[in-house]
Subunit: 508 residues, 2 copies
């Protein structure tokens, strides 16, 4: 079916020559047309209108900007990179432009923000429109804000999870137990996934790990892993890696697993919010779409972690368990200590170096990171029947110590396209202790923000190397942390923030 | 003070040559730079980052898009039209670009969406950042959604109103009584303001009326008046018009009265929401900034009007009165019948024609519009001491009937730049009654949407001419309304919607 023919007046819609603008706008689809373009008058399109653009059998919805002058010839439409790719265009192709259909699902968003709960059909419609790129930033922000102001209840969380699964691809594995793990963020560093996958796969279990990029943190597992090996695998490659090695460490977004999640994530990041309902739907939809049967979830609890109290951690665990069960996914939660960062590095490359140090059994390897990985891998080994109850952690420790995990990790990276060395930042500057004393508190949130201001996660080498831990005795002038950045500007920006946050590391 | 020097590291920020992109994006400020531009690396700027741009003593915050290829030379930055104008640039000027300061006021927005009420300092900071263009669409939508989900209480509404007044210009008049009027929208047509101003000013009272453009309706008073005379008056012109004629009918947005309101309005329009708190702050902040002392507010109540019950109307009146009193503004509310549109036209030019018909005492003038204008003007004349209590409406009717109001209206339009004839749409198509019967209901909301789909308010001539009223007996084939549009595409689009809304005018 031609793009313009489905609602009866397609034949009257003129064709426009598409121009590749090579403009980058993340998930946002952008189109630019002349203000005097005939179709703008004919269809009543104004700047910031949403427009539907069709080419071949494909259709997208984009935000329209208009311009005067000679940058565009009459009869042309310029498209941002994501729009160009979603329409699968070649230079010289033509497209049809028109008013998009009325976005009926917005009625559900408006009702929701006035307190009416969403039912299945409304949730499905919203998530479908989001995944198809029909929601503007304003609409996306309204939906996410509404579900923060009045939190999603269990039924809504289930419906959101289901809609997010249904709108994307789904992987299937020919194995009775397919393991997965996840850590509820908020704790800088704490990059256990590469270690857990290596240990679990080394023991012969299946763990096709797909991870996300950072939401509000300085690094997601996918960001960290990308400094060690390619992570943008398509489904066929991922399947091949897992068939050969039992495990993988891939970016989930490359596979259209829960594609709406990436859109939500970018807006949540801009808002710096991350609600329980969205969190659960984000985590579980990706696990379910990835074909997992059992998942171990680490929930660090601490004053400045994402989850602040033991009670909140238990409630979250219960909600994850309940929702997972409705999809046949068994959820095992481990509530852990979230009082300080885990490992020394905060930022993609710095965290990757911690991971390598543990795998290689280096003397400088962070003991806390190793211990957490052993605990989580141990739980997975027990679930998978490779260790008796209570014996998993011991086995996991052995597999790390004797080099089997390191060997497996190297083979997984090779299968994904080749192990590589994480980059090192060009600029580094230490923060020194202003006086003698003892480290009394470390603010996880401000530490994360510091790492982000230094450029992480966009700049892989950027971040913070933490050089003290809670309780350490320090002397004036001793480095507490070192900021890593790829430019003097970012270093300055991070230190401006440090000057305004004297208590980021409190010396008592 | 040079733009780059205030926080210590301005000397290190390189200058970029500004290019006028002639790109239109409403309130949104947009900057485009090459992905490989040195300052992007140096400052860690990515696509969709907010950037601060300084030139001379001016600074703005803009949304950054990046591009590859040769559209921009290295060392250049392209700016959208609003950004170009706010920086007051000339071709060849240079600007400095950097990370904007951390947007501290967002903490207030986030707290608000989790239920914490906003205090004075937080509200002032938010509105200041909004007016300065520092909020992205995502941030704006989050703020507005949060104040819809948990409605602003009276104190917050007061604080929002005050912050919106304080952030803009303020007019002062050398008169003890400065009148104003406002109608709470939702009732299509109902364009009484031009009539009330003409009557009141003809009686020697001061009524410097500033109006807004449509939020979610097919026409605001400013949109309608613009088809009759220029409305984008600067403060000096407005003052001159009022000094000469006692009244004016100007667009408030041109004068920086409550400048944050225009930004909120555009986002509310995209969301299609309009909350009580925002409504009150929007209305009162503009009246206070315009220097009014007494305001008559019309609150139409009906099933499909903005206010649906008498109780809600009374509550809104009370809240308006209470907030107004805290600023020394006396608010008189009139709760009126909102069961059907007022007048025949819906859309800027069509409503203007109704206004002209009443002023000219034409036989076809809509009686309901005339009657409402007389009621509201009567109240204003009593407040202003020109009529005894209960006698205002009679005087208002006389001033209309004897042509004094029409003469005054012509003089006001001449002073604003010249009376003109509203445009007539190129395409018109009637909707005919499908059967004999009686008009049982008219859906105001759908009628507004129909007018908007036909192109109103952006297309001034577009809209709907309503040809029946509640209770009318109609025969099959008789026109119920006529859609006016400037293009066949918009006419089709409106009729697509009509086909899906068979009960827009219900025939019993």
């Amino acid at each position: 079916m031609a793009a313009g023919d489905s609602n009866g007046n397609g034949n009257g819609v003129p064709e426009l020559r598409a121009m590749r603008l090579r403009l980058y706008a993340q998930h946002q689809l952008i189109a630019v047309m002349r203000r005097d373009e005939r179709v703008c008058r004919a269809e009543g399109l104004a700047s910031r209108s949403q427009v539907e653009i069709g080419a071949g059998g494909r259709r997208i919805q984009a935000l329209l900007y208009q311009l005067d002058g000679d940058l565009l010839q009459p009869g042309m439409i310029a498209l941002s990179e994501t729009a160009w790719q979603q329409l699968d265009l070649r230079e010289g192709d033509t497209v049809r432009v028109r008013h998009p259909p009325v976005l009926e699902s917005l009625a559900g968003v408006r009702g929701r923000l006035y307190g009416r709960r969403l039912e299945a059909a409304a949730m499905t419609a919203i998530v479908g429109d989001v995944a198809a790129g029909r929601y503007s930033d304003v609409h996306l922000a309204a939906f996410l804000t509404a579900t923060a102001a009045l939190p999603l209840d269990e039924e809504e969380t289930y419906l959101l999870t289901r809609a997010m699964v249904d709108v994307g691809e789904r992987l299937h594995w020919d194995a009775p137990i397919v393991l997965d793990k996840h850590c509820i963020g908020g704790l800088p560093g704490n990059r256990t996934s590469p270690l857990v996958v290596a240990i679990v796969a080394a023991c012969g279990l299946i763990m096709p790990k797909t991870s996300s990029r950072a939401i509000t943190s300085p690094a997601g597992t996918a960001d960290t892993m990308e400094t060690l090996a390619p992570v943008e695998l398509d489904s066929a490659t991922l399947r091949r890696v897992v068939a050969a090695e039992g495990g993988c460490l891939a970016w989930g977004g490359a596979m259209q697993l829960s594609p709406a999640d990436e859109v939500f994530v970018r807006i949540e990041r801009e808002l710096d919010i991350d609600t329980e309902g969205q969190l659960i739907a984000s985590v579980l939809s990706k696990k379910i779409a990835a074909g997992s049967t059992h998942v171990v979830i680490d929930i660090p609890v601490g004053d400045t972690a994402k989850v602040r109290t033991r009670e909140a951690g238990d409630a979250l665990a219960q909600r994850l368990h309940a929702i997972g069960a409705r999809f046949g996914l068994a959820v095992y939660s481990i509530v852990s200590d979230g009082s300080q960062p885990v490992g020394r590095g905060i930022g993609p490359a710095l965290e990757a170096r911690d991971v390598l140090a543990v795998l290689r059994n280096l003397p400088a390897a962070p003991a806390d990171l190793r211990e957490r990985a052993v605990t989580l891998a141990g739980a997975a080994l027990e679930i998978g029947g490779k260790a008796a109850p209570g014996q998993g952690a011991r086995l996991a420790g052995e597999v790390l110590a004797d080099g089997r995990a390191w060997a497996k990790f190297q083979r997984i990276c090779a299968a994904q396209g080749g192990l590589r060395e994480p980059p090192v930042a060009a600029y580094r500057r230490p923060l020194k202790a202003s006086r003698d004393g003892r480290v009394g508190a470390i603010d996880n949130r401000r530490l994360s923000r510091l790492a982000k201001l230094s450029g992480a996660p966009e700049v892989a080498a950027a971040g913070v190397l933490l050089q003290v831990r809670l309780g350490d005795v320090v002397t004036a002038g001793q480095p507490l942390l070192t900021v890593h950045a790829e430019s003097p500007g970012e270093l300055d920006y991070a230190f401006d923030y440090l000057r305004r946050s004297p208590d980021l590391i409190r010396i008592d």
